[in-house]
């Protein structure tokens, strides 16, 4: 367990006395795909928010690559190599697709701030061609110069994923990447994520769709009522009676 990229140790989070998370201990290993599942209100999104610095835990520590994350701003956490895809795509609605992807690359290049006024945005050929490549890769090659608010929901998700990928993150956090998608789209996304996984990026995925979870995850953590009730490989989880009771039960009956 010493090859953990992200280790969450004894994390508690409460909102006005309500325990959203308690006693969470979780290690995400390098290059694994780790799914976090659990019924609604189990605290999955809260956990993700704690990881990216949106929420500060009430107690406990989150270490990324040996660096303490608690108390850091989201932008600092991102710079350490953590990228996140949201449940509803957070993209730059007024910019074009290519611009959306180029901006994260500037962040990678300039760190948190750069008064780049000596060059033109459209003459950043290196950044530009890499962006085009990634976008083409994700099937957005036809939309490069479209404004993003004209994209379909699925395309917006892929765009957000592209925005994360160009930063070459060490850890990619995905919040329900297939929610609300049709079966065909879901399958396409699974294929895509498999390919991303193959590049060796560590992935943490929150998902309701068990099909997605079992196709992708190396290991699974089950949350219920703000605590971890089970952890293990997909096969172990499938057979775990506690999980079936708490979560799978209602789905598979």
């Amino acid at each position: 367990m010493n090859n953990a990229v992200l280790s969450i140790h004894d994390v508690h989070k409460s909102f006005a006395g309500l325990h959203a998370l308690s006693n969470i201990n979780l290690d995400i290993r390098e290059s694994e795909s780790h799914a976090i599942i659990g019924p609604n209100g189990a605290g999955k999104s809260t956990l993700l928010n704690v990881c990216v610095g949106r929420l500060a835990p009430t107690r406990g520590t989150v270490l990324f690559d040996g660096t303490e994350l608690t108390g850091k701003h989201p932008f600092e956490i991102n710079q350490l190599g953590v990228a996140r895809v949201f449940q509803t795509p957070e993209i730059f609605e007024d910019l074009t697709v290519i611009e959306n992807v180029m901006i994260p690359m500037f962040s990678r290049r300039d760190r948190s701030f750069g008064l780049n006024i000596h060059s033109r945005f459209d003459e950043q050929t290196e950044i530009q061609s890499e962006s085009v490549q990634v976008l083409a890769d994700l099937g957005l090659g036809d939309h490069l110069a479209h404004l993003t608010n004209s994209l379909s929901r699925g395309d917006k998700r892929r765009l957000e994923l592209a925005m994360c990928l160009v930063q070459h993150p060490k850890l990619l956090l995905l919040d329900e990447p297939t929610a609300g998608m049709a079966r065909a789209d879901t399958n396409a996304t699974i294929e895509l994520l498999k390919r991303i996984k193959a590049t060796g990026i560590t992935i943490v995925i929150i998902e309701h769709d068990m099909h997605v979870v079992f196709s992708l995850a190396d290991r699974i953590t089950v949350l219920a009522g703000g605590t971890i009730i089970a952890q293990g490989t997909p096969d172990e989880i499938k057979g775990n009676p506690k999980v079936v009771e708490a979560y799978l039960g209602e789905e598979t009956v």
């Binding site: 701003h73 901006i103 750069g114 060059s119 003459e123 895509l192």
Partner: protein, 404 residues
């Protein structure tokens, strides 16, 4: 892929420069061709360009920009009083001081966003105005305004052996007096430079980052950007533009009055920018021109002017027309301004530039729904964002689509 290139921008700049320098002939037919008004066009054009760098790019609506204009003016006049009547030190000092002032106010105001930011800037500007008008009179000369006196020391001028105190001094640019037409050409050239710099900012990665902040500040955080220094830079640059404009006001007319810091003066630059089109390059300059034209020409229309204007009409009709038109000109020019402004905000949030694009029927120019939210970048080139993209994409090295 961006629908616009360096060449387009250079062409835009050249055309802009040509129009500015030829302003005296172009504006002759509408009665606006006299030095003071053209100077004001240029100066408020600079002011609005600067304001647009903040509002147009980041969406932060400052209601206190006039404070920087005022600081620039006071700094310039003090430079005339203490150092030299030359315009250059005055401008330099004004720009630096207003930048510092913007740093201080920005540091506090930018801790908040949205309407809170607006109120904070408004509060700071009102404080500056109130103090300048009364308590700070030793520095600002209060109501009367700070002026250059014959007996001021002007240490730099003395050092270079000028005959200080002999006659009422006038501002100059190495010997060229900065009043009348030379004053306009000086301001015009500064305007062209300011415009060029705004093109640079708009097209730079920095400018794009500012747009991204406006678009989704939340995502910026998860993308690894710290928005604060970007906003701060935009605020300071825009404050320095305001200071520059303020110093030019003092250069062409060495008197600095406190009214130019009032919040209504800040409102005026907001009007200018929005009228022309926030977030566009040319819009603010256009808006500044229109509002200054209204202020100076429309306000001077009196009944006799109107009567001669509508002379071709029969007596009775003319009487009615003059009566109605009289509501909107002369002492009613504020009404015209209000009406025009509401029309723009309601029907043309992209400002006159959007209107122009619609009239010119530039393809695929998306409709602007909110002020400042203009996806259209400018009338030249970027309006046609989606035009030439397909060719470029085809040439782009595309791998097979993974979504089989």
């Amino acid at each position: 892929m961006f629908g616009i290139s360096k060449i387009n921008d250079i062409m835009l700049l050249v055309a802009f420069a040509a129009i500015i320098l030829a302003g005296p002939i172009i504006l002759e037919p509408i009665g606006a061709s006299y030095p003071d008004l053209l100077q004001k066009f240029a100066i408020f054009g600079i002011f609005a360009i600067g304001f647009n760098i903040l509002f147009g790019l980041t969406g932060y609506l400052s209601f206190g920009h006039a404070a920087f204009l005022g600081v620039g003016s006071y700094a310039a006049v003090w430079s005339f009083k203490l150092l030299s009547m030359n315009a250059i030190p005055a401008i330099a000092i004004a720009v630096v001081l207003s930048g510092l002032f913007a740093l201080a106010i920005g540091y506090v105001s930018l801790r908040r966003a949205g309407i809170y930011f607006s109120i904070l800037t408004l509060a700071f500007a009102q404080m500056s105005y109130n103090l300048a008008y009364s308590v700070l009179t030793p520095i600002t000369n209060g109501e009367t305004g700070l002026r250059v006196l014959r007996t001021d020391p002007r240490y730099l001028d003395v050092m270079f052996g000028a005959d200080v105190g002999a006659a009422q001094p006038t501002t100059n640019f190495f010997g060229i007096e900065m009043t009348g037409w030379p004053g306009f050409y000086f301001c015009g050239i500064v305007l062209i430079a300011a415009f060029a710099f705004s093109i640079v900012i708009f097209r730079s990665p920095f400018g794009m980052t500012l747009r991204a902040i406006k678009s989704n500040q939340n995502r910026m955080g998860y993308t690894g950007f710290n928005s604060r220094p970007y906003l701060m830079s935009a605020f300071i640059i825009s404050g320095m533009y305001a200071g520059l404009a303020g110093s030019l006001l003092a250069v062409t007319d060495p008197l600095a009055g406190a009214e130019r810091m009032q919040w209504t003066a800040s409102g005026e630059v907001v009007l200018m920018t929005i009228l022309g089109g926030a977030g566009t390059l040319l819009g603010p300059v256009l808006g500044a021109g229109i509002i200054k034209y209204f202020e100076n020409i429309f306000s001077a229309f009196n009944e006799s002017v109107l009567n001669s204007l509508f002379e071709f009409m029969p007596e009775d009709v003319r009487h009615v027309v003059v009566e109605v038109a009289g509501l909107f000109v002369g002492d009613g020019w504020h009404l015209t301004l209000g009406v025009l402004f509401m029309i723009v905000v309601i029907f043309l949030p992209g400002g006159l530039m959007e209107g122009a694009m619609r009239v010119l029927r530039i393809k695929h120019s998306p409709k602007v729904t909110n002020i400042g939210k203009s996806p259209q970048r400018d009338i030249v080139g970027e309006g046609a964002i989606e035009e030439n993209l397909d060719d470029r994409v085809r040439t782009a090295p595309a791998r097979s689509k993974p979504t089989g």
